[in-house]
């Protein structure tokens, strides 16, 4: 998503990351009990993952998160003035690029190309990426791995001993 942010910034698409509740709370990234903790987690994320796009923090009760559907990894594309062009229950970068090209691109060309708006919905598929989840979740802590994959996941992550 960082690459997409950079690629489209010149074309007046501003990218932001909305930091919400921890999806897989664990030892090193516990559930937020204060805005200070939420800020702290977001800063760790920004620095360690080298996030360049602005991070906006939702409040403690998830007011914004709930207004947009409460899922952990959504992407929304909103045109100037607030018109929703695209909403995705899961962020899949190639699908986001397709939406920018079709939904946003068409909106920009609508007058010169004499385009009328239409609408479609479809199911998309994402890779399971269990191994990647386990690798990334070592940062959060064993709880995140165990709650997804049980003891088997812990062994996969840390070897026979099943702990870091």
């Amino acid at each position: 998503m960082e690459d997409i942010a950079e690629r489209y910034v010149d074309r007046s698409v501003r990218s932001v990351f909305v930091y919400v509740r921890e999806a897989h709370p664990a030892e090193n990234l516990p559930p937020h009990v204060s805005m200070d903790m939420k800020r702290d987690h977001a800063r760790q994320f920004r620095e360690e993952q080298k996030i360049k796009r602005p991070i906006l923090l939702d409040d403690m009760t998830g007011t914004c998160h709930r207004a947009f559907g409460t899922l952990p990894n959504m992407t929304w594309l909103i045109e100037r003035g607030g018109l929703i062009l695209y909403k995705a229950a899961w962020t899949r970068p190639d699908d986001v690029i397709a939406a920018l090209d079709e939904s946003w691109g068409g909106y920009q060309r609508r007058r010169q190309d004499d385009l009328m708006p239409a609408y479609s919905e479809r199911m998309i598929w994402r890779a399971g990426e269990d191994d990647r989840f386990i690798e990334l979740s070592k940062r959060s802590g064993p709880q995140a791995i165990e709650e997804m994959f049980g003891k088997e996941g812990l062994v996969k992550a840390y070897g026979e001993k099943g702990e870091p």
Binding site: E22, P25, I55, H65, K87
Partner: protein, 65 residues
């Protein structure tokens, strides 16, 4: 949503792989709700409607975990 900041995955009463709440969220072709968020960098409050005043906004939601 009393337990919004749940301590254990999966959150009880919510199905992370289902889309009910997402279906209830605003549709494509309608106007998105304006929300107030805190800018991590400056600490200032940002309103989404101010972000989309001058151009499109691409928002992805998430957390570190």
């Amino acid at each position: 949503m009393d337990d919004y900041n749940y301590a254990h995955f999966p959150p009880t009463g919510e199905k992370a792989d289902k889309f009910e709440r997402f279906y209830e969220a605003p549709n494509v072709g309608t106007i998105a709700p304006d929300m107030a968020l805190e800018d991590l960098e400056s600490g200032e409050t940002r309103h989404l409607k101010d972000l989309w005043k001058s151009g499109a906004v691409l928002m992805d939601f998430g957390s570190y975990s």
